[in-house]
């Protein structure tokens, strides 16, 4: 395997483990909000139906949460194991947000998840609602600290360079008030709500189409579609737009690479489809909207957008095709989500959705796609940051652990691949069983 040097393997190691890990927290964070909404409806209406619906989702939440925990622990360790030089140099800054995540959110989540799952009878409805709220708050706080860490790597703020080259914290509020953080956090968290909504709507559609648990099916479809309509729209505007402007202003070369814009233009077109050809420096088979990129970025049809030609090639992201495709997959799917959810919401409003076969089929089958869109979004962020580990401060090859050989890195990468394959099979098996048993199952009431 030529080219599988230690650096490549360390990058794949992190990419693989983080990609697999984040399949779970996105549902955790999205479902936490939706379960809280169900608990609120139960509390306000006094209707046992909603409490039972919340119990059903709590069981799926618990399986998903366990997967997030066990795949999350390796992330905290891998900064040190595989990226030791990066950790030594920048640990004084990013260790701060990672430690805060442990202290402020993991303790909160883990303590009250047990209370939430096992304590409903003992606590009574109001205290149990509060436990659900604390689990929600813990998971969203956890997201905040992780995004704060990533935002700092995308756009470092609040730091100073020590004489020995270490990067030190100079301003705590500079770190937490990073302008990049605001849009990235909202974009990411609402993305989690999109995943949660699609999964809930999908299970609801499955019940309606199989004519089982139909009362719950209607509740899940309704909540999933309403939350999905709002969240998919918010993904596009303002959060997607805000995140795009972050990139345009702070990482213009990344914007050019994402859009496949090789040459600087006044009135730059927006590429919908096309394959970037790095050798010829052009987009093959392009279908574009003239001047749209200029407008979206600067609100002026004739504004200048810098192409890749405006930057020296050693500052270009090192995998432009992957960046371009992942960005386009994210945006393409996001646009389809808005359309589908808008259609479903219209049908729901007209009282036809629960009997509309095609829409229910679509809702049922769409559940995996938000995961793909989220993953593509994160690949866009991370590949777009290249060739930097910390944008403008540290290049990726510099940050790796110098003494961990390619052989050792491949050994553990293969180990993770094997274990995660088993985890994925177990997860799908257990979640399918819960869905198959359904919310009306008597075991649901005793948990």
């Amino acid at each position: 395997m030529e080219g599988m040097d230690a650096l490549t393997l360390h990058r794949l190691h992190f990419a693989f483990t983080i990609t697999f890990h984040y399949l779970f927290p996105q549902l955790t964070m999205g479902l936490a909000l939706l379960i809280l909404i169900l608990k609120t409806m139960a509390l306000r209406t006094g209707n046992e139906h909603y409490a039972q619906a919340a119990r059903f989702w709590a069981k799926i939440f618990a399986i998903n949460f366990a997967m997030g925990v066990v795949t999350g622990i390796p992330m905290e360790f891998q900064f040190g194991t595989n990226w030791a030089r990066f950790s030594k140099t920048a640990g004084g800054v990013i260790g701060q947000t990672l430690a805060m995540e442990g202290v402020f959110s993991f303790f909160l989540e883990s303590s009250f998840l047990g209370v939430f799952l096992f304590g409903e009878k003992r606590l009574g409805p109001k205290a149990h609602w509060f436990a659900a709220f604390l689990v929600f708050a813990g998971s969203w706080l956890s997201g905040f600290f992780i995004i704060a860490t990533n935002a700092w790597m995308q756009h470092p703020t609040g730091y100073q360079m020590a004489p020995n080259g270490d990067i030190q914290l100079a301003s705590f509020w500079g770190l937490l008030g990073n302008p990049w953080l605001f849009w990235q956090y909202l974009h990411n968290m609402i993305g989690a709500v999109v995943t949660g909504s699609f999964v809930m709507a999908s299970v609801g559609a499955f019940y309606l189409l199989t004519q089982r648990n139909e009362d719950f099916g209607r509740t899940f479809v309704r909540l999933g579609v309403i939350a999905g309509t709002i969240s998919t729209a918010l993904m596009l505007f303002p959060t997607g737009d805000g995140q795009g402007k972050n990139i345009a202003f702070h990482q213009p070369v990344t914007l050019a690479a994402m859009e496949g814009l090789f040459e600087t233009e006044n009135g730059a077109p927006l590429a919908l489809i096309g394959q970037p050809d790095i050798e010829q420096r052009r987009l093959d088979n392009p279908i574009t909207i003239p001047r749209a990129l200029s407008f979206l970025t600067y609100q002026r049809w004739r504004a200048e957008v810098k192409g890749l030609d405006a930057f020296p090639p050693d500052r270009w992201p090192d995998n432009i095709p992957l960046l371009y495709y992942s960005y386009h997959i994210m945006v393409g799917l996001g646009t389809m989500f808005v359309a589908l959810m808008a259609l479903a919401a219209l049908s729901l409003w007209r009282g036809k959705l629960y009997r509309s076969g095609p829409l229910l089929w679509l809702l049922m089958l769409m559940a995996p796609f938000p995961y793909i869109a989220t993953t593509a979004g994160w690949i866009t962020a991370e590949v777009g940051r290249q060739p930097w580990l910390i944008y403008g401060l540290m290049r990726t090859p510099v940050g790796v652990s110098p003494h961990v050989s390619a052989g050792n890195a491949l050994f553990t990468l293969l180990g993770f691949m094997g274990i995660y394959t088993i985890l994925a099979i177990l997860f799908l098996f257990l979640v399918y069983r819960e869905i198959d048993e359904g919310p009306a199952h008597p075991a649901a009431a005793t948990v």
Binding site: I63, I73, K88, A99, M100, V103, F104, F118, R122, A170
Partner: protein, 340 residues
């Protein structure tokens, strides 16, 4: 300021060992003290609502180590690459064994996860012990404060040894025994009937092996790491830590019958805290000694982050820990008493 953070990280790790220690120990003994499915459910129920929170102490200690001592975090995590990765795999297996065991009722499902739970718990205790042994023995740090250790070489505890040598294996065995007794005492405290009796017997039998291993490990540690004796000679007040450990060790045995075993369990906590604080006190100011050139040893000052970050860290750490303590008091109180 560095010393404050050194004490805080050491304290967090000690809390981790005490809390997750009984989860691990319960995992080690549960195959033997609990035979039927109902009995094993009872053992799992005794840790079910708390194990995840207990394990967060490991993550939070790791995070705190990361920001307070980035150089130590980077050097030790990359240097102990292989054992840490194996620890991660074991933590994954143990986590899913606990969480997924009761989802399916089948004659193959429960025994499978019970075995995974016991095996991963036991191996984790062994690896944590070996890690502690490595930190006491020292590692081959180079000029830039980095190293890489293979899992094993010649087992000689010399400059060429790997992670596992006779000394670190000895510490690993002692850690395994300590957590086994700790876990057995916890199970005895939380259960009734047969399980409780078997757990008590296990704690008593393993106690003799534990006491013997503690004596051997203590003697060997002072020989392997001369800095330990220097520390205690320079600051004799530090003897309070090993004395606390000794009191805990004896107390575990003497107070076995009191208050349903609560006193014995608390003595075991005291023993673990005493042992770990003795090590921390004995190594200070070193955080990672070199077993080659002593000039390359990493100290609290050479590994610490810049003063501003440490100061600011204290501002959020103290309220954060107060909140955390309140969560733990709340959850342990609400799940207090015997498992039903």
């Amino acid at each position: 300021m560095e010393t404050i953070w050194f004490s805080l990280v050491a304290a967090m790790l000690a809390v981790y060992v005490v809390l997750d220690g009984f989860d691990l120990g319960a995992g080690v003994v549960h195959l033997f003290v609990a035979r039927s499915d109902a009995q094993r459910r009872a053992v799992l129920a005794s840790i079910g609502p708390v194990w995840d929170g207990n394990e967060v102490w490991l993550l939070a200690s790791g995070g705190t180590l990361y920001f307070a001592f980035p150089a130590l975090y980077a050097s030790s995590f990359s240097g102990f690459y292989l054992p840490l990765m194996i620890v991660l795999w074991l933590l994954i297996l143990r986590g899913i064994a606990i969480e997924f065991r009761n989802h399916v009722r089948s004659l193959v499902w429960q025994p499978l996860w019970d075995t995974v739970f016991a095996g991963s718990s036991g191996l984790l205790a062994v690896f944590f012990g070996a890690a502690l042994g490595n930190v006491v023995r020292g590692v081959p740090l180079d000029r830039s404060g980095e190293f890489f250790l293979p899992l094993w070489t010649d087992f000689r505890a010399g400059k060429e040894s790997g992670i596992l040598d006779w000394y670190t294996l000895l510490v690993a065995a002692a850690a395994f025994l300590a957590l086994t007794v700790h876990g057995a005492l916890w199970v005895a405290l939380k259960t009734e009937g047969e399980v409780q009796q078997r757990a008590r017997r296990a704690a008593q039998r393993f106690w003799w092996a534990l006491a013997a291993s503690v004596v051997v490990v203590t003697v060997c540690s002072f020989r392997i790491q001369p800095h330990l004796s220097e520390s205690f000679a320079a600051h004799p007040w530090g003897y309070v830590f090993p004395l606390a450990a000794l009191a805990g060790l004896i107390g575990m045995r003497m107070r076995a019958g009191r208050r349903e075993g609560l006193e014995a369990f608390l003595c075991s906590c005291l023993f673990l805290i005493g042992m770990l604080t003795s090590v921390a006190f004995g190594l200070y100011p070193y955080v990672l000694p070199s077993n080659g050139d002593p000039a390359f040893s990493m100290t609290v000052t050479s590994a610490a982050a810049a003063p501003y970050g440490l100061r600011v860290g204290l501002m959020w750490f103290i309220p954060g820990m107060l909140l955390t303590t309140s969560y733990f008091v709340y959850t342990y109180r609400s799940f207090a008493g015997k498992v039903r």
